[in-house]
Symmetry: C2
Subunit: 147 residues, 2 copies
DNA sequence: ATAAATGCAAAGGTTTTGCAATATG
DNA sequence: CATATTGCAAAACCTTTGCATTTAT
């Protein structure tokens, strides 16, 4: 299931379920996202909606999408990091990233090393590599949370 | 193996292997990266080196790290995307991302769904989720490459 | 000698913020 | 009605770029 069209009533229900107020702007933004298979960024969404709702402002799109994400109504495509970070360790290993403090810890896992491109990719293109990482809360942040 | 200290001679060898000129700045930058387990960003590297090499400029750090990465001497931690993109499809699925045009295609894979947190994480913190994605070249870009 | 790398400063691009006005539950 | 959301504009932030100078091969 992908690319769906929803009415305001259904959207209002989704908002209620996530503790959000349902505004016309948010409806348009959410509609644009669920009606697309493009995984759009803020600008695409903004440009598309502007045609039918010229009063919409850019930061409303940004804010709405962040809010939807925080409340779990939509998800961010590839998590990424706040800034570019590098690793000079070139042997096969993986990363555990703390979502609270941003600490990145290396770990080694045979299991993860064995993950290979699924055949479902064949019809989409040529795979170059599979990226796997674990996100969570590091021990330090876990402790400080108890404080 | 992690957190190593290297001398200029060894560094020069690494550069030669990757077709790079070995400068004092690059040596400091590379040393900082390989001598750290922090997966630092440009600013950390810059700040650390500035103490001993006050003439170093910020953009040299950026440029050097990008160059190291392009030549395969170091790697970027979590690939991420150029801008934040969202997905309203909340059922379990994964993404194939084309490194050329940026197109993101959904795919469904039982195999990927089954990937679970490796036990190696236990000593690092509490895992929230595993993120997996496939990077490569989409069919469209593959074709246009032949032209 | 030639081509590449550096430093400087300025620009580029995306994302965020403060505030007054407005709309929602 | 109280509170959250919007629009506007400006700022913040990370990263990149052009150019003259210096450096490595």
């Amino acid at each position: 299931m992908h690319k769906r069209k929803i009415g305001f009533a259904e959207f209002a229900g989704i908002c209620r379920n996530h503790g959000l107020k349902s505004t016309q702007q948010r409806f348009e933004i959410y509609s644009e996202l669920i009606g697309s298979t493009e995984h759009p960024d803020a600008e695409s969404v903004y440009t598309a909606i502007r045609k039918r709702m010229p009063s919409l402002s850019f930061d409303t799109v940004y804010r709405a999408m962040r809010t939807f994400e925080e409340k779990g109504a939509i998800s961010r495509v590839s998590p990424g990091l706040e800034r570019t970070r590098y690793d000079a360790n070139m042997e096969p290993h993986h990363h555990f990233i703390c979502g609270k403090c941003g600490t990145i810890k290396d770990f080694y896992s045979e299991e993860f090393n064995r993950i290979s491109t699924p055949m479902e990719i064949d019809e989409l293109g040529k795979a170059e590599y599979v990226h796997v990482e674990v996100r969570g809360l590091c021990n330090k942040c876990r402790k400080s949370k108890l404080t």
